[in-house]
């Protein structure tokens, strides 16, 4: 067997805090061979990033590596003097981080920043360095490298910035590139390009790749070998094919089960009960036992679980791995629609426009307009879910907020129960606030950190119904908490004491407090882990069935759309380019943009062989959108007409509309 490039053996890292010791990484071992792509998968808080930082010895001050070895080309990185380590870090092993916004210095041009990485480690003349930097910029797929040399980070899009980060990491031709959630902050279309870039670079340069992610799709797309991490330990190590063909560890299986998709529409997603155990305690036996459906007495008998070798390179940390096959997967509970709608009036949006004026000069004259939402029409029937899909910056959130009059509407109608909400004054709109509610993306910023949970829940009731007594309100709060699956004793706690998923439940409870019939869900699950996402989606689905709620579900995640939505509207630069039932849009996409979105989603299902449509990474600014069809600058089917004529909606079927010149209206 060849010597691996990097071999991590029994690495243990802990955080020393005054009150407790947190064993973030508790004895992980794995090898990365030369030229191999290794993926470390796990939910947030399981110690993925810390293990990468431990290998590079970039830990914060209160963290300490207590045991283990990291062998790189025969020498142990953990016992190397800092001076030698500096020649490895960023040169032989380099790292890219999740957020390209904060990793670049805003006052330096990108050329200088890449040059800095080259400069630090090689002595050469200025012109040579410049040449090298330009070739690097070219290598990471940025066009016009000469001109880009002197641009500043804020002039680039998120995807471009991540490319620059990769260029910096590649500056010294490393043997190993560690990518810590490299695409989490990016749109799907950009994500697929960055993954493609990483794959290509890896092949060209023969370097190894260590990718840290929570997204199984990315793993399937890029990895050769997969390790699943849970509570500071690895629980399964396998080759990609073995892993996706047959995940063995119960936790890995649950991760797959928790993923929403079209086939699971009629059922509740399988979720994990309980929470990730505290890493400060000590464990007996299997760390997953508490949440495992297959657990038995033997799981917690041994003090420390060993590896079960399933096949040559497929190892599982589970004592009952051979017997799992015999146990039937616990059946999913079917959702039954029980609700009867008291009121089935739909929300009808007609020609909605939300423009933001651009003001300049001393007198603040309006010099232009950002057309965030530009002539959007759709209908949200009662008791159904409409998904609004699109890349970031396309105006999804603006549309959602404008419906609730949280942003002023420039033009257009929002009809509900025979009333045009868009023309109502704030005072007159107040009675409709009960009907329309919103849930936000970030569960951490959507609750006031200095208010008790009880007060947060009561706020809406008190604001909109002054006739209720305190006892009534308290009773209502308890019912709400029960509905979202939380105990009523949480009322006297503060939001920060809850996990992301629990917070999102509280946000849902807050929205439900005033008994709405329509909820705008602004990416409510995109900040959550897969298993927690499943819980929230289940809750939303359950509530819809019980109470006949309608959701306007704003998201960029097509698998969630497939699971939850009834109709889908695809938005691009403020306009809806395609609208139809979930089946129409996802299975028979018509618009080139929709096709690109769908194909950009990484998948592990080998049967769905597909070609990745490369969308150029140059989404135009909504303040200066291109003429004609907004999408023509990135469309591969672009025709001369597209640059001039704004496409009108074409009915493909009674439920499917598309705004594209490729389709000719057949009715007129």
């Amino acid at each position: 067997m060849p010597v691996p490039l990097l071999s991590v053996q029994g690495l243990k890292t802990q955080f020393n805090q005054p009150s407790e010791t947190i064993k973030a990484v508790d004895g992980i071992s794995f090898d990365i061979a030369e030229g191999e792509a290794f993926a470390l998968v796990g939910e947030s808080g399981c110690g993925k990033s810390i293990s990468a930082l431990s290998v590079l010895r970039l830990l914060p001050n209160n963290a300490q590596i207590t045991a283990g070895k990291v062998i790189y080309r025969g020498s142990d990185l953990l016992r190397m003097p800092e001076k030698n380590m500096r020649e490895i870090r960023g040169v032989r092993i380099s790292m890219i981080f999740q957020d390209p916004m904060t990793s670049l210095n805003p006052v330096m041009t990108i050329g200088e920043q890449i040059a800095e990485a080259v400069l630090t480690h090689k002595k050469s003349s200025a012109s040579e360095i410049r040449k090298r930097v330009i070739s690097l910029i070219q290598q990471v797929g940025i066009s016009d490298p000469e001109e880009r040399y002197s641009t500043f980070p804020h002039q680039l899009s998120g995807g471009m910035r991540q490319r620059v980060m990769i260029a910096i990491a590649l500056a010294n031709e490393p043997d190993l590139l560690i990518a810590d959630e490299p695409t989490t902050a990016l749109d799907v279309t950009i994500q697929s390009q960055i993954l493609q870039l990483l794959k290509d670079l890896q092949r060209q340069m023969g370097m190894s790749l260590w990718i840290i992610t929570h997204d199984l799709g990315i793993v399937a797309d890029i990895a050769d070998k997969v390790a699943v991490m849970y509570a500071g330990q690895l629980v399964e190590v396998a080759s990609r094919d073995d892993f996706f063909k047959k995940p063995l560890h119960p936790y890995s299986r649950r991760l797959f089960d928790a993923l929403p998709d079209l086939h699971k529409r009629k059922e509740l997603l399988v979720t994990l009960t309980g929470a990730v155990p505290k890493l400060s305690g000590s464990f007996v036996g299997c760390r997953f036992a508490e949440r495992c459906d297959y657990k038995e007495h033997s799981c917690t008998e041994l003090p420390e679980l060993g590896w079960a070798i399933f096949s040559n390179d497929h190892h599982v940390r589970c004592v009952r791995v051979d017997k799992l096959e015999l146990i039937e997967k616990s059946g999913n509970i079917l959702v039954e629609g029980t609700s009867e709608l008291d009121d089935d009036s739909p929300l009808i949006v007609k020609g909605l426009k939300v423009y933001f004026p651009i003001k300049k000069g001393l007198l603040k004259r309006t010099v232009g307009q950002v057309k965030a939402v530009d002539d959007v029409s759709f209908e949200l029937p009662a008791g159904t879910t409409t998904a609004l899909v699109g890349e970031s910056g396309c105006g999804k959130t603006t549309l959602g907020k404008a419906l609730l009059q949280l942003l002023p509407i420039t033009e257009g109608d929002v009809e509900y129960k025979g009333q045009n909400l868009a023309t109502l004054s704030e005072q007159a709109f107040k009675q409709y606030r009960e009907q329309l509610q919103i849930i936000f993306q970030d569960p951490f910023s959507s609750m006031n950190p200095r208010m008790l949970v009880g007060d947060i829940l009561e706020e809406g009731i008190r604001a909109l119904r002054s006739d209720l007594t305190d006892a009534d309100i308290e009773h209502q709060c308890d019912t709400l908490l029960e509905k979202v699956g939380l105990n009523s004793d949480v009322r006297l706690r503060y939001p920060h004491e809850f996990s992301g998923g629990q917070r999102q439940r509280l946000c849902i409870a807050r929205a439900l407090a005033v008994n709405p019939s329509i909820i705008v869900c602004d990416e409510p699950t995109s900040a959550l882990d897969v298993s927690v996402q499943a819980q929230v989606l289940n809750l939303l689905k359950k509530l819809q069935n019980e109470q006949g709620l309608s959701y306007l579900f704003i998201t960029h995640d097509l698998s969630v759309v497939a699971y939850l939505a009834d109709t889908v509207a695809v938005m691009y630069l403020g306009r809806i380019v395609e609208y139809g039932t979930v089946d129409d849009v996802l299975n028979n996409p018509a618009h080139p943009y929709t096709k690109a979105l769908i194909e950009a989603v990484p998948t592990w299902d080998a049967s769905l062989e597909k070609t990745v449509v490369k969308l150029p990474d140059n989404m135009p600014s909504p303040s200066n959108p291109p003429d004609g069809c907004h999408f023509h600058t990135r469309c591969e089917h672009v025709m001369p007409d597209c640059r001039q004529i704004k496409p009108r909606d074409v009915n493909l079927s009674s439920s499917h509309k598309v705004a594209c010149l490729l389709f000719t209206p057949n009715d007129d």
Binding site: N448, M451, E459, A463, C507, A511
Partner: protein
Amino acid sequence: MLTLLWTDIAIFGLVIGAVVAVWRSSKKEHLRRPWAKIFNNRMGVVSLTIVLFFLLVGVLDSVRLQHYEKLPDGDYSEHAKALSVLDIILTPIRLQVEKTYSEPFAHTAYAKEMNVDEAGVTQWLYPRLLYGGAHLNNPKSDKQADILLKIGKGLAHGLLAWLGFIFLLRLTKRNLFKTKLKGVNSGLLTLLVIFCVVGMIASLGSFYHILGTDKVGEDVLYQAIKSIRTGLVIGGLTTIVMLPIAIGLGLMAGFFRGWVDDVIQYLYTTLSSIPGVLLIAAAILMAQVYMANNPALFTTLEDRADMRLLLLCFILGITSWTGLCRLLRAETLKIREMDYVVAACALGVGRFQLLKRHVLPNVMHLVMITIVLDFSGLVLAEAVLSYINIGVDPSTYSWGNMINTSRLEMAREPIVWWSLTAAFVFMFTLVLAANLFADAVRDAFDPRYIE
């Protein structure tokens, strides 16, 4: 008979307000928790104890009684003099006035004087003080032992008083020592230190000038203690004047934006571009003219001095809100875009409630830090203003006045250092304790803060 000055009323108002606030918050579970956190923090309890002690001194100094002085012939004078309870407690130090400068614990004056002895021989020597060490026959040899003895006695009295205090506490609260609050013991130990210091001062004070005397022979310790009230008034009242303006305008500017923001920004930019000293000087001079023209309103010297102090607080307050206002505006601009504010809007919460419940609590940490940092700045500002004679009345005891007079003393040869040192030590203790306490409060009231 009680008399009240305007600043006394303000002080009592503040203290009563604070007591009511503490009492009300002790009724609510979620507000009791942060206080438990403070009492769990050793530094928090120690600093709170010290601040409370200073506050006690200030309050004692604000309770004034009509006092008829005893004349040498045994009768009482007809002129009533308003004396505070503190004055009465400090009577020995207050009345033992020497001729001029003397060093701490000195028994002789600081400068030589010409003296004619019984034989008629004129000689330069250090004269004995009237009160300092006057009980000693042979000061050179006995003084050290006497001082140590008196310190020992003071410490013993302090310790006894402390034990008595604890005994009383146990009678009322049996489970005092069983609480898990770490801070309680630290607080009791701080109290022990305070008791011992008070005991030492009590046993030494009537025999020596512990911190020396100033130019007119007045005891510096007495001056420094009397200045506590002035410091608290200037720090406290100015803040009370400044806070509503700063918070109200800052939140409004940040929250409503548009023309409201423009007007408020214009206001504070204008105000902060006028030199503050000019405004203060103008206001104080106007007030002086007013007082001179209306002598009927201000009958006593104390009334006038007090009115000047009150005015100074108002003017300092009106000129010092701009910095905090600017900070709050910026923070509010950020917070109003947070999702929880948008969510509250979607729930139809009114604007006033939005500001009160969502914005204000989230900017309180800024307010707290600014108040405490400003506090020391204000005490110093008072010193600077005294320098150009527009600060507090020269007859008012204040650290500023002490620092101001020590300007000349520092230039003397040999140097007179004790006035400045006394003012410095007292100010330092108060400001440091207030700072540490504010830190503890800020941490305790931030629900996100984890120890």
